[in-house]
């Protein structure tokens, strides 16, 4: 069910973002310069800066805000944020890794990306110290970052995850409790590194969380990135991956379950910027109840530098009740004729009655049949994580969503 792709031909190669280059701090976002008033068609042309003062106030009309209920996250857009989060963060590691808090001025910061919207820049301007996780080991190691006591105070966080050459590891960001948080996560993969990053949002019902993940994938390195959003009032996680070197590979998975009144959003961006890079994006969501709203935006950019690109993205949503809404917006910009493949698929729909009939015809009661179908639909993504313990915990968390919403999960009780 591939729909037509947007084919953008550009005469000159777009300026390559240099993460170390802070020169753009001096530039300002202009409301008359193709921002807000004139919609930006190409993802590569977005304004970026580390300084919140360079951004115009958010009106809600901007490309990256138009689906988001901005009124519900004003503190993160306008107020200064509390940038001291160290005492509220608990890090557990099951293997060798270097974990430390580093200063704003540390050279490890700003190695993977630059904020492209105001909340992200606000967090960048506000954080005091950043959590640095460095994995060197070739034997797989798993690190879990727990955040559960953030409270109502508007906060900023910054995390840098660095997978050294040929290292193998998994980093899980496990979120629960209250939150009013805007954060940036930088992910750097050196040559041949295999890194899995999982961010799990099991926040309380009234929590607000905006996250920008910036990843840069080195030569022949492989990133698996998983977003699991189950709890929270407004949760928006935007992963952005730059495939800067030949042979880089990224898999971006997401699974979300929105209940009554919940807004769960993800804007995914894959930037193919080197030959023979590969990307797979697969997000699946279920929605249940009045005002449950999910947004998935999938931007894939294949630059002239990215010959031999192999890319596919898909989003599927299952609407379990009336009054829920799933926005699904795939967008492909292809600037080279020499690609191995690029496609996208997007589908949002109700239950497949034939599936229900099949299960019921085997004696399975309707409510259980529905649960089986939804669990199956979502578990396809959960199965991709590759960490059995986390997978089974998330399966039960999804189960809890299915049987009645606000039941707390194992993590919440711990």
């Amino acid at each position: 069910m591939a729909s037509p792709v947007t084919l953008t031909t550009s005469s000159s190669s777009p300026k390559k973002a240099d993460a170390q280059d802070h020169s753009r701090l001096g530039s300002k976002q202009h409301s008359d310069g193709g921002w807000g008033l004139v919609p930006i068609q190409v993802r590569s042309a977005r304004f970026a800066s580390y300084d919140v003062r360079d951004f115009e106030p958010v009106s809600g009309q901007e490309a990256e805000w138009k689906h988001t209920p901005v009124a519900r996250l004003q503190p993160l857009l306008t107020d200064p944020l509390d940038g001291d989060i160290e005492a509220l963060t608990l890090v557990a590691t099951g293997g060798p890794a270097t974990i430390e808090w580093i200063d704003r001025s540390d050279a490890r910061i700003a190695t993977a990306g630059t904020p492209e919207e105001r909340a992200s820049a606000n967090a960048w301007s506000s954080f005091e110290s950043a959590l640095s996780i460095r994995i060197d080991s070739e034997t797989p190691t798993e690190i879990t970052v727990h955040r559960s006591g953030l409270g109502d105070v508007p906060r900023a966080a910054h995390t840098v995850i660095h997978a050294a050459h040929h290292s193998v590891g998994t980093v899980v960001l496990q979120n629960s409790g209250k939150a009013m948080l805007s954060e940036n996560v930088e992910i750097v993969l050196d040559e041949g590194a295999h890194l899995t990053v999982v961010t799990v949002q099991e926040w309380d019902d009234d929590a607000t969380h905006l996250a920008s993940h910036f990843a840069t994938v080195g030569r022949d390195a492989r990133l698996k990135h998983v977003v699991v959003s189950l709890g929270g009032s407004v949760v928006r996680v935007n992963p952005s991956v730059h495939l800067v070197s030949e042979g880089g590979d990224v898999e971006l998975f997401g699974v979300y379950f929105a209940d009554t009144g919940q807004h769960l959003e993800q804007q995914v961006f894959v930037d193919h910027d080197a030959p023979n890079t590969r990307s797979r994006v697969s997000y699946k969501g279920a929605l249940q109840g009045l005002g449950a709203h999910t947004v998935w935006v999938g931007d894939v950019l294949i630059r002239p530098t990215a010959s031999g690109t192999d890319s596919y993205e898909q989003n599927r949503n299952l609407l379990l009740t009336d009054g829920a809404r799933a926005d699904s917006i795939p967008n492909l910009e292809i600037e080279t004729g020499d690609i191995a493949g690029a496609g996208h698929a997007s589908a949002s729909g109700r239950f497949d009655d034939e599936q229900l009939f099949y299960l019921q015809a085997r004696g399975i009661r309707e409510d259980e049949a529905r649960r089986l179908v939804v669990r199956g639909f979502l578990s396809e993504i959960v199965q991709k994580i590759g960490s059995p313990e986390l997978e089974s915990r998330l399966q039960s968390a999804i189960e809890a969503e299915l049987v009645g919403g606000s039941e707390s999960t194992l993590e919440g009780q711990a």
């Binding site: 497949d352 009655d353 034939e354 599936q355 009939f357 099949y358 299960l359 019921q360 015809a361 085997r362 004696g363 399975i364 009661r365 309707e366 259980e368 049949a369 089986l372 179908v373 669990r375 199956g376 639909f377 979502l378 578990s379 396809e380 199965q383």
Partner: protein, 257 residues
């Protein structure tokens, strides 16, 4: 002894062109232990009969009744009918992504029996049935019908028939799309199920070839939503030789697409 009774059944579906009558008065009595073959040309309403008995919401019963041991099946939900002892092997089994075969089978067995099967005997039973149907053990971990070939889907249906042990089973064109070897394997499975449980069978088929391996007690010829003729196994042989022309030609309907 259990009896499945279909009386004067009239069924319609809603189409874009309006309500379409499909079944126009079907009578049928199937006793436990009997094998009834229902044969008929494409579009004559065979699947409609099967789905209606199983309770598919698409089919609207205008009049008539379906009972199992005097109990009104039409008043029951789809799952209640299955728990009452009815099984439908589908002509086109659907894929259910993310639901593993083992999980599905165990859930169904638990639903039908009302209690979880004992793990040891159940695992053994599943393994043995799969072996009999020449299904590789790896199918257990695959998702229900996902990526199964046509023949594999049919074997999976018969696997469920063997494991769930219904009183009555309707097999909707279980033979179609099977090569000779697969046909024999599937027929063996059906015969085994009958031997073990003494179930009653409604065997829907377009062709006679499965009847070489499963001998019917009765043959009903279905034409244009009705039973046009009934007889013993010899009627199948006659259909084999003559085809359906004699039922269709005189009235000039229905035409085949």
């Amino acid at each position: 002894m259990s009896v499945l009774t279909v009386s004067d059944l009239h069924v319609s579906v809603e189409t874009e062109q309006g309500t379409k009558q499909i079944l126009k008065g079907v009578d049928l009595v199937v006793k436990q232990g009997e094998i009834h073959a229902i044969m008929g040309p494409n579009g004559s309403g065979k699947s409609t009969l099967a789905y209606t008995i199983a309770g598919h919401p698409k089919y609207h019963v205008e009049s008539g009744s379906v009972t199992l041991d005097g109990e009104d099946l039409l008043a029951m939900s789809v799952d209640a009918r299955a728990r009452a002892g009815l099984f439908l092997a589908m002509q086109y089994p659907v894929e259910i992504p993310g639901v593993a075969v083992t999980n599905f089978l165990r859930t169904a067995k638990t639903a039908i029996d009302g209690v979880q099967p004992s793990i040891r005997t159940w695992t053994k039973e599943v393994t043995e049935s799969m072996k009999n149907l020449r299904m590789d053990a790896s199918f257990k971990d695959r998702n229900v019908n996902e990526g199964f070939s046509g023949g594999e889907k049919k074997r999976h249906e018969i696997l469920q028939l063997e494991l769930l042990k219904p009183k009555f089973a309707i097999l909707d064109e279980t033979d179609s799309g099977l090569d000779v070897d697969a046909l024999k394997i599937v027929a063996e499975g059906v015969n085994r199920a009958k031997q073990n449980t003494g179930l009653g069978l409604l065997l829907i088929t377009h062709y006679t070839r499965i009847l070489r391996y499963i001998t019917p007690d009765f043959v009903h010829v279905f034409v244009d939503g009705r039973v046009a003729e009934e007889g013993g196994p010899e009627l199948a042989d006659r259909l084999e030789a003559e085809g359906y022309d004699r039922f269709i030609a005189p009235a000039g309907l229905p035409t085949e697409a």
